[in-house]
Amino acid sequence: MWRAVLALIVKELLAVLKDPKSRMVLIVPPLIQLIVFGYAATFDLNRVPIAIYDQDHSEASRDLVAQFLGSRIFERVATLQSARRITPLIDARKVDLVLSIDRRFTRDLLTHQPAPVQLIVDGRDSNTALIILGYANSIITDFSLDWMQAHGERPVPAVLDVRARYNPTLSSQWFIVPGIVAVLTQVVTLLVVGLSVARERETGTFDQLLVTPYRQGEILLGKGLPGLLIGGIEASVIILAAVLWFGVPLRGALFPLYLGLLLFVASVIGIGLMISSIAVTQQQALLGAFLFMVPSIMLSGFATPIANMPPLIQDLTWLNPMRHFLIVVRGVFLEGAASGTFLPEYAAMAGIAGTSLFAAGWLFRRRVY
């Protein structure tokens, strides 16, 4: 029996790798996505264009401006002489932030009055606006504390001592790139498995296969295992690229990562086989895969945290295998977590894999005959 299943797997791999269309699906989109996601999908800010409107022209105000420009985050593109230009600059998106230092800045500082500094931010991109405000606030706070110390004032009663664990520089790339492992593994596995039966249906070889002495389980195995193999290889290549090319630390062991990968790919194969057994043509399968993929990526926590979603949708994401695998892959990469901490994720993925494979088998039987 194993020889026959092996022959089925070999045939499946040959069919995928020899068809230029399928080969393209395996190589080109993942490559493009790896580059685009890896570099473009970032929430980190740098070179944010800002305008400075310093009405005080004092040593203190110049100091504050210097601290802003000293960080790599902000870049001065305009120096304003009047408030009239603020609105047009922001409106035309020439600058994201205007730092406006009041005329009374130094005087208030010296007389212990709150010295006013205005931060005018473009809120059209709300996330960028929030991050800009965060950066600007911490620069101004540092300036305040420095100033107090320099002028021999009594320090503030308490200070925040913030440390970011696992990702001290808060690099988005460290967050996104391990996520790409999950996204691309899902895309490739789903396309390979989801389209394989539809392709055979279109060419008529599926009937040919069904009249051979293969049992249904063997055919499912022969369709699923190549997906596991290809998904595993694809994931390994991206893991390597994450470590070697993007420099993301891989702090944990490979075992918990690959255990998660196995369960994840098994769930995706189950879903792919379900799509496969419903779709009659490759186009339908492609559409089905697309309709599954879009929400599953959006609602996985890949780019936007699950915790921010409404409770109902958060509950719904439990059905999404990618949500669980993202926790595993990021946990292993950045937290160096051991398999023990992933028990709920493993259990959830095993559940999804079992259910979807079973459903696929059932649909398969119903559709085939």
Partner: protein
Amino acid sequence: MPAESELPPALRLEGVSHAFTSRGRTAAALDGITARAERGAVTGVIGPDGAGKTTLMRLAAGLLQLRSGRIEVLGIDVARNPDDARSRIGYMPQRFGLYEDLTVRENLDLYAKVQNVPRAGREARDGELLHMTGLAPFLSRLAGRLSGGMKQKLGLACTLVRVPEVLLLDEPTVGVDPVSRRELWEIVDHLVRTERMAVVLSTSYLDEAERCRSVLLLHEGRLVGATDPASFAAQVSGRSFHVSAAGTGKRQLQERLARTPGVVDATIQGAFVRVVTESGGQLSAAELSPQATPLTIVPVPPRFEDSFVALLKSSSPATASPGQAIARGETPEENGSRGTPSPPETTGSAGNEPVIFADRLTRRFGSFIAVDAVSFAVRRGEIFGLLGANGAGKSTTFRMLCGLLPPSDGTLRVAGYDLRRAAASARGRIGYMAQKFSLYGDLSVLENLRFFASAYRLLEPHRGARIAWALEEFGLGPHADAVSRELPLGFKQRLALACALMHEPEILFLDEPTSGVDPLARREFWRRINALAESGVTVLVTTHFMEEAEYCDRLAVLAQGKVLAAGDPESLKARARTAERPQPTMEDAFIALLEAASRPRAA
């Protein structure tokens, strides 16, 4: 029409060549064709699949860029003035591009508008077209829900909403049942007669050639003949015979005749073997039968196909007879030494369990009954045919027999099993060759063979031996590493059969096994099937080709899910015998059956 001969012809080709490049490889589709098609007549472009028919039609319609040569439609240079030429032709592509989610009426309206048919004459024209095609009752049906024949008729009607001067029809009769085929031809004849239209029609059915005024014979991109069909057939006049021998199976007889020197062609036609000899003159029994079996030889009028086969054999002797090993190795001598085994068609003893057995087999899809209480039995070593048009229910029956579809009702047995319920290993006793020779196109010939050998669980060293056998027997050795998608059609068919025979099955299921292949490949294929049947393999074949039906020992004719008639080809033909048609063909018989079946319902 006094001036007609001086006018430029409907279509003129001069030194037309065309090649396609795919994946860096160049394949010639047409090679230096010079030909013409006259006004007011049907010109047939005839050849097997891959001969270059579609390329020729597309070039004539200006749909492909002409690279070398010159094409004129009614004297207009198509390459230079494609729009002028197109405004005077009507063109119906292969599988006419109907909008399947539009109704019959909507399709007609679309073409009327796109062709700017004046509103004034439209009503009358539509009425005429609908009457001619018989589509009037189906105006609001979606085109996708029409039968193959009706689709083609609708396609033709759409092409005719504006009366063209030259009508180009690319394989209009593919996949069409004989009745619709006859109707399509009647429409074409009518157009030529009443509208003086020039029709250029391509087809791979050789029997259609006889309905054309003149024919252009294409083979592998070359023009191998351009004459009128009668004189083409006459090239072999006096060389065609019906041969029969009492006490010898027709298949053994055919096998023997085919290998006799001087015989160009030997095919089974019902109870006879049709023989075409190399040279004229009376065929002597002694020459044909050294063993002195008494032979009956009757000269018959030549057919178009006789001449075509003779022509092909003389032009390409290399492809004439590869791999006769099965025949030589297993059949005639062996059978001869067994004395005279009762030919399968006469074995009917009660103790002989049928190998394939269907009793009141029924399949419903929703409220639609695809197969309606079909019953038949096939004995060991018999070639049994399911004959019917597309949609007659033969594919559904076939799929049920193979275990691919559960019957809604009735019982069936294949080699004693219901394949759907039986253990998977029971499927190892059948071989299956699907329509269009479904193989893994991206895999090489050898990879396909290896896969099927493993799929049928052959073990070394037997596995290796069978793969070697397949390569040797089917002449696939030189192509072992070729990508099977790129094989010529005839080789695809051989590979498909090799895969189906890998595990030496007892029963062979064939679905439209020779559709589109050239006549030589078809003959070679049936020679192998005959040899298998002689060695005891039971063969079930579905077909809509009348010619394939002739090879069967017995047939069940299906229409609308029901068995209209069953029996051997001769008895079916005999039923259609009338005074004005003393020698009915299989097609005549089929049409007569269909007409008889539809008459009571119509009344």
